[in-house]
Amino acid sequence: MIEKALKGNRSYWIWIAFLIAVIGIGLSAYNQQRWFGLTVTGMGRDISWGLYIAQFTFLVGVAASAVMVVLPYYLHHQKEFAKTVIIGEFMAVSATLMSMLFILADMGRPDRLLNIMLYPSPHSMVFWDLMVLSGYLVMNLVSSWAMLGAERKGAQPPAWVKPLVYLSIPWAFSVHTVTAFLYAGMPGRHLWLTAVLAPRFLASAFAAGTALLILVSLILKRTTGFDTGKEARAKLTVLAAYAGLANIFFLGTEFFTAFYSNVPAYKESLQYLFFGLDGNCQFVPLMWFSLISGVASIGVLLVPKLRNSTKWLVGACSALVLSIWIDKGVGLILGGFVPSPLQEIVEYTPTTTEICVTLGIWSIGILLLTLLLKVFVAVKMANEQ
């Protein structure tokens, strides 16, 4: 089936070549990082995680959001999603791969990665995260590939696929819950030390992931002519809007608890991110941009007249993805480190090397997604003829 990815038009190959070029740039930047150490990034003693861990957190959410099509299609027989469900699973595969690569890029000693397996430590959330992520990757790749293979032959999928898909549903929730637990169990990091973090992660994941899925389906329609259907997109739009609304609601509850209780430790990070702390306001414009674009895009998605226009839909979905990328990636991870345990405010700016590595990993994920979707569209188109 994979040979179908080797046949494409000119623009397909230009796109592949472009991605490979960016991967090359990323690899050379990573080579520099391996040689000189993580000092080539903007991270330091006080802000010890940065762009990489932010991407990781965001992408685990995108991966988990596949459940937004898998669950209604397989458990509630919503036939509209028949053409979207495999796209969702393929997106989960590439997002999971990217998130794992971001962890690898962030490690000081990636050569010792297998130590996590050699000395399994159930008391550490990283151990569980690695387990659920690798399980989720395999589960989604195997089940979606088997489904597509069966479809190509016009046969029934093997009997083991269904149970695997059913297992992937609670697994998707666990993937993002465990990711939230990485942060939510740390004493002294008050932005993260909140029970609402896992629910908020799920809400923002379902909003951003679903919006991204709508965008991917529109790109497919534009580039290949393969349409997943207006009904599927309409349903996804509503799902994304309400998930986004839930995310804003959870953020609101965080604000209430922090500012009404007036406990300094709970207030300070939010204050730093949204209003500035002691004259330091590095992220204030970015956070307000995220909040306003988030609210505005949800508004657009909730109005039927606007969301039915492709232009508005693309704009709103892009704004929602960007808003959550800032809120969950940049704001949450960096804000968690400010103020430092010694009440210091340290600024963080990613370096060019760090940005190149990040773009390289994104390109690896997008390349994988492109190849998988190429096979998918080829199979679907052949069947339709």
């Binding site: 000092t39 050699l118 740390m186 430092s340």
Partner: protein
């Protein structure tokens, strides 16, 4: 010809026999050629029996003296990059309100407000860093010391995020270039691993006190077993008002302060 072969055979046999002795000697500890020194004060490792702790008397600590930190960093080959971003430190001084941000800050005397306090790893009894570590590269020893295995650390920096005291440093680059006066009694670290105060476990094993307590010209640092009611540190804790850093987090620090 024959003789030469015989000589060679005898030579090799003798070598083999000696090698055999060498191996056998390792099997019987009493006859071993090389002895491992048991932990300090001839205590045998009984988990939880000893809990090393430190009491810092800030009243005695002189404002412009950093002798303890200087000696600590020297004997442990702690690099000095001379920039804040890559900084590696085991022991340092910070203003009172930074070291005790959750302690009372209102209407404190000028003397306390202006004072710099010593900060180091608290060797918490309930350590969040060892819990977060996915490889047990940082772990709790039988004597309460939170130790590091630099050869197992994968550099994920979860322990740094988990530590509520900012006591851990990461080697953002090769530390060996920044060790200006290296010692041979303690190993250097590699790029990409985390390090921190080890409560001088390297000196305790030789029966010595931690380097900082010896270095302090004012005797402001008292080191001892918190589980021993007769120890100096326990006597001081029982007769003075003392503080721990952020006790509300439940980490049970083993470093105490007299302010």
């Amino acid at each position: 010809m024959m003789n030469e072969q015989r000589r060679e055979f005898i030579k090799k046999t003798a070598l083999g026999v000696f090698a055999g002795f060498g191996v056998a000697s390792g099997l019987v500890p009493a006859f071993s050629l090389e002895k491992t020194v048991l932990p300090a004060w001839d205590e045998k490792p009984v988990p939880g029996k000893i809990r090393w702790g430190m009491l810092i008397d800030m009243r005695k600590c002189k404002e412009d003296c950093q002798q303890c930190a200087a000696v600590c960093h020297h004997v442990h080959n702690v690099p000095d990059f001379r920039n804040k971003k890559d900084e590696v430190k085991w022991m340092w001084k910070n203003p009172y309100q930074n070291v005790f941000p959750t302690a009372s800050q209102q209407f404190v005397s000028k003397e306390i407000k202006d004072r710099s306090c010593l900060a180091l790893c608290n060797h918490c009894a309930e350590s969040p860093c060892t819990k977060a570590c996915p490889t047990e590269a940082t772990f709790k020893r039988w004597d309460g010391i939170v130790a590091m295995d630099y050869h197992r650390c994968i550099g994920c920096r979860f322990c740094m995020a988990a530590c509520p005291y900012g006591s851990r440093s990461f080697n953002w680059q090769d530390p060996r270039m920044a060790i200006h006066d290296p010692v041979t009694t303690y190993p250097t670290r590699e790029q990409g691993v985390v390090e921190k105060c080890n409560f001088c476990s390297d000196r305790l094993v030789k029966g010595q006190r931690p380097a900082c307590t010896e270095a302090c010209p004012e005797q402001a640092l008292t080191f001892g077993d918190l589980n021993d009611p007769a120890s100096d540190i326990r006597q001081l804790l029982e007769t003075n008002a003392t503080m721990q850093r952020k006790p509300e987090l439940g980490t049970k620090p083993s470093v105490f302060y007299i302010i």
